[in-house]
């Protein structure tokens, strides 16, 4: 049972405030902000109490999404899941999550809240139901951009670019598609997050992949959809299917609306997607990755007598060539102009940015750090691990592929279907 819901910006500005039960005044918003900013780094902020009132909050899009409740017996899983779901709904309806979009669409968000929660009880969060009730139009914060025009070729000819959806295509409000008519699109994303620990001798100590298949549907009404996975997809250790390299996951969970009657025979998922974003399938794979981890590091570290530290790092990308990798941050230099490196004293880290890394190549960097000797004999500072933050487009580590995405029966309006794969680094640590 939720007493109040409010949204705060990271500076503490009140964006949205709704009281469902009249159990506490609106001054608790400032109380919450004081409390949350007074916490030190290691104190868990998720649940905080003020008298009889308990604050539960999540952070999404740089905002605080807070629910208060007076009963300590409330389920934390439910409240947190609700706040996450609510922020996802706001994202669906407003296109993106930011302080600005929330501010511009506050009327829409009040309307949403009104339908989603009544008297502190969650009524529904399904976008299928909600679309009948929500009347307010989303205000898009994106200004008109020339980029949109670039998709149109001369004399209406199809250009290469018009076949590829821009990466921002999926971040728009779902409602507006109703008015725009023709653009009934469906996005199917396979997103994997890797968490890898590689020991100092190059031994893989841990390799986990958490993946999900996400559907974002902009069609006002979508009948059945069929998603075909690799036929040799198998779950668990014992089960092996087909010939050759099987795609194996340890555990797999499906959205409750997914029909699995064809899954066991043909690896086909059937579902009727509702408008907005939903996770169709989540899977998880640990330790036994089908391929070697994508990056390897060959470090050489020397210390000279003057307390200087020389680090020679060689980073190799073991992906099939022609694949680009965007590495946004790496705690490390630079032979080419588009890379950059920076020493961040506050974090005691070197940040090496590599905008693009082609598979099958290697990059190397030499760092020298020197410090004014504070002690007569400075102890050698330990060099921490190298952390890679990257995004691998068009690739799944587990090998999961979508064979087909079929909408049946065929929609009256031409629909566009996009399938995207991406692998993120959740935590890719290479020990030195």
């Amino acid at each position: 049972m939720i007493s109040q819901v409010f949204i705060l910006s990271s500076q503490g500005d009140h964006l949205i405030y709704k009281d469902f039960r009249g159990e506490a005044g609106s001054d608790v918003v400032s109380v919450f902000y004081e409390k949350v900013t007074a916490l030190t780094g290691d104190q868990p902020p998720v649940v905080m109490s003020h008298g009889d009132l308990h604050f539960v909050h999540v952070r999404q899009g740089g905002l605080y999404w807070v629910a208060t409740t007076t009963s300590p017996g409330s389920s934390p899983f439910t409240i947190i899941e609700f706040l996450n779901r609510f922020s996802a709904l706001v994202k669906d309806y407003c296109g993106s999550l930011s302080e600005k979009s929330v501010q511009m669409n506050f009327a829409l968000i009040y309307e949403l809240l009104d339908e989603v929660v009544d008297y502190g009880y969650i009524q529904t969060t399904s976008s299928d139901v909600l679309k009948n009730f929500i009347q307010t139009e989303a205000v898009s914060s994106k200004p008109f951009s020339l980029f949109d025009l670039s998709n149109v070729g001369f004399f209406g000819a199809e250009t290469q670019q018009s076949k590829v959806a821009p990466s921002s295509a999926a971040s728009r409000p779902i409602q507006s598609s109703r008015e725009q008519g023709g653009r009934s699109e469906i996005f199917l994303d396979v997103i994997e997050r890797m968490s890898v620990v590689i020991g100092s001798k190059g031994v893989v100590l841990k390799a986990d992949v958490e993946g999900e298949v996400r559907v974002k549907c902009f069609m006002p009404s979508c009948s059945e959809m069929r998603i075909g996975l690799n036929e040799e997809f198998s779950i668990g250790k014992s089960q092996l299917r087909g010939y050759g390299a099987a795609v194996r996951v340890d555990e797999c969970r499906f959205h409750q609306n997914v029909h699995l009657d064809e899954f066991h025979s043909n690896r086909v998922l059937r579902l009727c997607p509702s408008q907005g974003e939903q996770t169709v399938m989540q899977y998880q794979l640990s330790d036994d990755l089908p391929s070697a981890p994508p990056f390897r590091l060959f470090p050489t570290i020397e210390r000279d007598s003057g307390g200087r530290l020389l680090m020679y790092l060689k980073l190799r990308c073991d992906l099939p060539s022609k694949r680009f990798v965007v590495i946004s941050a790496l705690s490390q230099e630079l032979s080419s102009p588009d890379q950059s490196a920076e020493l961040k004293l506050q974090n005691r880290a070197i940040d090496w940015k590599i905008p693009r890394f082609i598979g099958g190549t290697q990059l190397s960097a030499l760092f020298k750090t020197s410090s004014p000797p504070p002690h007569p004999s400075p102890p050698p500072p330990p060099v921490g691990p190298v952390v890679l933050v990257f995004e691998l487009p068009q690739l799944t580590v587990s090998g999961l592929q979508i064979r087909f995405l079929r909408l049946s029966p065929v929609q009256p309006a031409p629909s566009q279907r996009w399938i995207r794969y991406v692998t993120h680094s959740d935590s890719y640590i290479l020990r030195l």
């Binding site: 868990p44 300590p72 899941e81 409750q256 640990s286 974090n347």
Partner: protein, 807 residues
Amino acid sequence: MPYLGSEDAVRELRRALSNPNVQSDQLRYRNTVLKAIRAMSQGVDVSDLFSEMVKACATVDIVQKKLVYVFLCSYATLNPELSLLVINTLRKDCQDPNPMVRSLALRNMTNLRLPSLVEYVEQPLAAGLRDRAACVRRVAVLGWAKLHNLQPDAEIDAAVVNELYGLLRDPDPVVMVNCLRALEEILKKEGGVAINKPITHHLLNRLKESDVWGQCEVLRILQRYHPQSEDELFDILSLLDASLVSPHPPVMAATLGLFLGLCSGLPAVSLAALERVRGPLLAACGSTSRETRFTALCHIQLLLRSLPGLMGAHYKRFFCGYAEPAYIKQRKMQVLVELVNDENVAMLLDELKGYCTDVNPETAQAAISAIGRIGRSYSDRCLEILTGLLGLKQEHITSAVVQTMCDLVWVCPQCSDTVCSALEGCEEMLQDSQGRQALLWLLAAYGERVSSAPYTLEGFIDRVRSEASLGVKMELLTTTMRLFLCRPSETQDMLGRLLHYCIEEEMDMCVRDQALLYYRLLHCGIEETHKVLHGQRSDPSLGVLIGRPAEPINQWAYSFNTLEPLRQAGVETEPASRGSPEHVTFDPKPNTDLSDTLNCSQIEKVNLAGSDGASGFTCSSAKVLAPLSLSLSPALSPEEFEHLWMQRHAEQGAEKLEEEEEDYVCLEERIQFPAIPPCSPQSLQAAMQLVNIQTLAFTPPHTLPWRVYLYTHTHHAHYGSTLVIGELLYIGEASRRVAAVKKGMEDGDVVEGEQEAGLSGRALVRKDGREEEVEVTLKQQPRDDNALKGFLSILTTVLHTLSSESS
């Protein structure tokens, strides 16, 4: 964020709202209303606009209507009279052909929270319950709950309650769940909605129709249901089995909560359910939402209390990610410590070692103390890492390491040698008061073994004037006193200086009083001082990490899936701080010091009060043995114990052949103890500790043969002190043997011939067949028959007290 000049803004808005030109243009009107709401949600007081807003309510534009209602619901309580004007519009809307408008009107009518409006609201609400649109019924059902809470003292309308019960059969699942919620609130005084068998089965059968939120609600309410038979219980459980592994954490948690409630009498089923949720919980731990991760971690900690082995194989899932916030890392480390076992200890320590140099000092400290916790079971490996960390010469790391060592030594006295050698040279790196207090405590306890201890202390005493921390000063006093006792010649001078400073110049009363106390104590003579200051150096009873007994599920089941586990920030699941060395030594371990000199007669009195069954036995022994007292110090480590025990066994065989100088006695005895297997190790350990007997190891309950190893020191007024080590053995009824008392003895004072006569032999107590017997083997060094007899009687009393309690 109140704007400057918000009054102007409000005035401007009011002018716009009452402008007929604006009112006639729907879009402009709506935008003006929008501005007002925006101001409201930014914290500006716009209550003055109430009357204009009431007018704006009468419109065909649904968006504007919704906006105005948001406004009206916020400010209605401030303007009850004006709110009456809205009711007409709302009641008209309730007749609207559009179900959306009807539900909107009904919802806001009940949201105004004005008791004066109740009479106008009841009729539309009653109609709403019978509306053909589900969305109206949903609102109407909850509306009754709102109405009831507005007038909590009003009589409950039985007709409405009946109708709500009837609506539990509504085809719309949300209406059904809302009925449950409304009835819960309306019938709160009677204990909530009646959960009987038909309702339960109806709800369970329709569970799948509801969405996640509805399922959680139903599962929560069903916790009150008590199945009538075991068959019914298992039917329910098998129905719920699929929800237990639901991909939605809220459903999974609610189902497990219900399972634990229903199976409180069936621990085996509950444990199986815990095994079953392992997968979904682990998945929640890897969720993209860090809050969900945190919640799952907190609940995993709960589960581990009852099933320590639950996540053992999945320890890698709890390795910290690079970008995770510190509070998640800390929880993960707490979980990792629980998961340690022989196979994974190397990997785990390697990983934790990596966190020790984390940029965030809190994380680093948490990692170091986690290593210290593992050190209780794997002391060698952990001490190696800890001493290695000292080599880094980082302030916060050194401080954390010294504190951790301090805790570790308290539990594992066998580590003291390594710790003592590692302490040299640490004091330069210690800047914070906790670290210095820990160092001082270690110097106090092991001062005689750290060669540089007086020099370190001298440094502290020289700087005492600039010392800011009260705790450090107090600790410094105690340490200097204790070091003076073992190394008087080196410390005498500095102790004098310190006492002089503290008494003459120190401004803080606590420090001054403490110094005066010590000063007077020294006047009483060195013997007295020794008695007061010689505290306990370790407490092995806090025990090892692995093989720790599992708690019953009932101990935490009530707090499962509530905010409780998330709120107790940083409280470790294990009561580790029970007797660990306090870093703030204001009270120098009052409980342990007291019980150290606790006299045997006192103990007997306590036990007499507790058990009537064994009183006959005890009374007599209490009279005889009054001057005997037991104590735990000096502590005996498990290794030393084992060594002594094995030595005795070896000698027993050889004793006939050789003359030995060592004096010891070996005694085997049987005592009745009807409740051996049911008695839990914790209660046994606690009871033994009460009388200063230390239990070192035991087999888990319900295994045969059941053994307990224990030791204590007896102090006798005339004969000095002896060490007693013993074993309790229960081999079960089948293999019961005749009791025998064996005694081997070599003693300087006693003639060898006494060997057979000495302890009046076979003191077999065997009354009836129902009671079980425990074989007690005791070894004593040096020999003291009276003390041994006294000890045996204390032991018997304790066991009897225990058995009478547990039966």
